[in-house]
Amino acid sequence: MSATKLLEIIDLQTQFQTEEGTVKAPIDLLRLPEKEMRPLRDKDLAMIFQDPMSSLNPVFTCGSQVLEAIQLHQRLDRTRARQLVLDLFARVQLPDPERIYAAYPHQISGGQKQRVMIAMAMSCQPQVLIADEPTTALDVTVQKAILDLMSDLKREMEAAIVFITHDLGVIADIADRVVVMYQGRIVEQGPVRDIFLRPQHAYTKSLLACRPPVDQALRRLPVVRDFIDWREVDGQRTMVERAVSVKQTLAQHQLTEAEVEARRTRIQSGEPLLRVVDLRTWFPKGRAWWGRPQEFVKAVDGVSFEVYPGETMGLVGESGCGKTTLGRSILRLNRTRSGEVWYRGKNLLSLNATELKDLRKEVQIIFQDPYSSLNPRMTIGKAIEEPLLVHGILGKAVERRERVLELLATVDLRPEHYQRYPHEFSGGQRQRICIARALALNPKFIICDESVSALAVSVQAQVLNLLLELREKYQLTYIFISHDLSVVKFMSDRMIVMNGGKIEEMGWPEDIYQKPQQAYTRRLIEAIPRGLIRDDGF
């Protein structure tokens, strides 16, 4: 890695507005000439990237890739280099190093791939390890394991780690010192305790506040705007910090127990809107030679629950637990094997095409990936208008356009966005567009499938607030699917913990969080980064 590359990476980060990291041994690389840089780059600097899926070459075994890196930098013969790789694999706590050595990247899990990447980065014993969002793409439990590993290595190897992330919760676990960046500038830096307990800059405060807390029930999440005002002064936008503390803001938004109780009784008094009975979605795995499936992957295996009108049902679990498949099965995007899904007295799974088309108006979904859930060749105006056209809801083009503009306003977008294409928008804005499109048909019931997982924490807070506002405004019912326990807890009236296609636990979020009944749930809760627990952690 070169000095310019480092510079580039920092440039890149400023676009995301946030960056926190720790530096134990700062080195001024930018002034170093390229010649002196090269030996440094070979030995002293190493980098771990965000996406472990694409940073390993799929056509070589994991072992040979690390071996190549070692042989490039150190003069070692093959057998000794191989031994070193196996040692490294054992050190990053990969199970059965011999097997991983011979395995191709697609044969091991995401967490294991990230461990291989760490092993590769450590192979030349760097003094500085730059980790660019290394856990963002991973599950909470895997994230915890990787963070533990990195802390251990930091102590063992006496290496400095620059840990770049948008998630303050992770920082608290691993960092000694924190640097907060906002719009390309460092706004605050100091020891991690100080930053968390006595944040000085308004932006740091907003970052601390906008992560959904697990120990409080809030009406809405604080967002950056609660802490920072933008004012026009002499034609220039200047930042004005509001003098409020994190605690005050959170207290302002807190729901009282009476309010929570009232909402619960109100919701539970009605008839269930959706009733899922013993739903099974099995995917065929092995097939006999005449094509009859012999084995199955049981993605959803005997799940039953009810959702009441106006309720938000949270659905949480690690990736691969079947929560997404469950949501898709309810919408008939998957073929189901058996079971019933009753919605207002109709079994969704046995409807024919015309009946289904009518019901499509009432049940909608918001997907995880805001980048691929919009057709890149359609202006967003057309994309939102299309469902109105297809279902013949508004006859005249003028009326439809009016309605689209109204929907855009509902999700805080401007009328001039009507003619733009999806690639012109940021992730948060795209997710708003998807919400507007889902709302176009006046649905009663929306499934949010990891709808905020791909967004940075501060944007995530805005979208979650929007979803809550819409729930009140249009009397919506949500199934809220996420791997993030704190987000699910913030959003839901009741929640389900899923594991291996089955319901592990179901109940009030507070009960599940404070008195988990199952070992699996306990493990999930323990894996939440401790930076979220503000007062008792320090």
């Binding site: 898709r328 088309k357 057709n375 299309e386």
Partner: protein
Amino acid sequence: MVWRRFRSNRPALWSLRLLVVLLGIAFFADFLANEKPLYCKIEGKRYFPVLADYGQALGWTNPDPQFLNVDWKDLEYERVWWAPVAYSASTIDVYNAPFKGPFDRQVVAEDRFWHWLGTDDLGRDVAAGMLAGTRMAMLVGVVAMSVACFFGIILGLLAGYYGDSRLRWTRVRLLANGVALVAAWFYGFAARSYALAESEWPPGELGKSILLGLVLLVVANVGASQLERFPLLARKRALPVDLLVMRAIEVLESVPGLLFLLAILAVIEKPGILDVMVIIGFLSWTSVARFVRAELLRIRTLPYIEAAQVMGFSEWRIIWRHALPNALGPILVVVAFGVAGAILAEASLSFLGLGLSIDQVSWGSMINKAREDFSAWWLALLPGLAIFATVTIFNLIGDGLAQAMDAKLNQ
């Protein structure tokens, strides 16, 4: 983005510019090479003979009787503008036949009637032939690839979007459609082959056959929807569209293309150039279909397709409005390469003397003439270079497009 990367590829960009020039030549070939003057004044009257030809072809004007069977070069003009090449591709100049080269002694009335690129065995001007050949080559490319795209896109879309398991019909509908297809082929084409063989262009009998087939299919489907009331018949079965289309492609591609072309042309009575173009198209839809299928396999798993399904859009709408527009980029690459292939195939056939009528000229048929007299280098070299240049242009454009749209560079 794609356009910016395409522009940075200089060979591809220059090829595109040259293609525009070639298309211009093809479009205005009649004004660049014509035995009639573009404009003339005879006995105080003004005439536009070339434009008048277009008018007659469209049926707007009648031919002027005074110009029937005249040699335009013998007329007395008060004023005259000739086309840059004062010969049509089919004009026979008996004084300069056979095989007069550009530097040989030629018998011409004025210098402007000189055969700059020589003549062939009948005394036809090679420069005019080159221009007419450009038009022929472009026409072959366009017609052949239109036919190829029509079949390729439809079959590729069906195969890619539905795969082997997503198109589910009831048993009775599958059965009825299968029977109807066989019946349509038998009664429409096999049993009526006598009528089809005798029919002239435009083929009314062919239309009747197709209509009969369509009626049979409609009847089968109406009957099937009635019979779907019985639960045993209404069980759904997947139609393996992908399997069927891919096997058809493999069968077609396993036969060497040029041999297949020759075999088909041998069966057709008096094959014209249009037949050649259409048959080349028929044989090259497979590559289009494979690319469309591959794109659709990727696109159909994207969330925006699922979002469209959840919003209750019809399958038809999803395929045409959401899936196809996003698959068009790679199709452009195949079309660029396909045009090159089609031009080459037509040149090979014309060289063998198939497809063209006597008065039509293409680059391939000109090279064919060069076989009769080996000293006539101008007849082999010039059309050969033209074929080489055109095919190279299309290949470079295809390369440029493929590079500009490479998904790996997009990141």
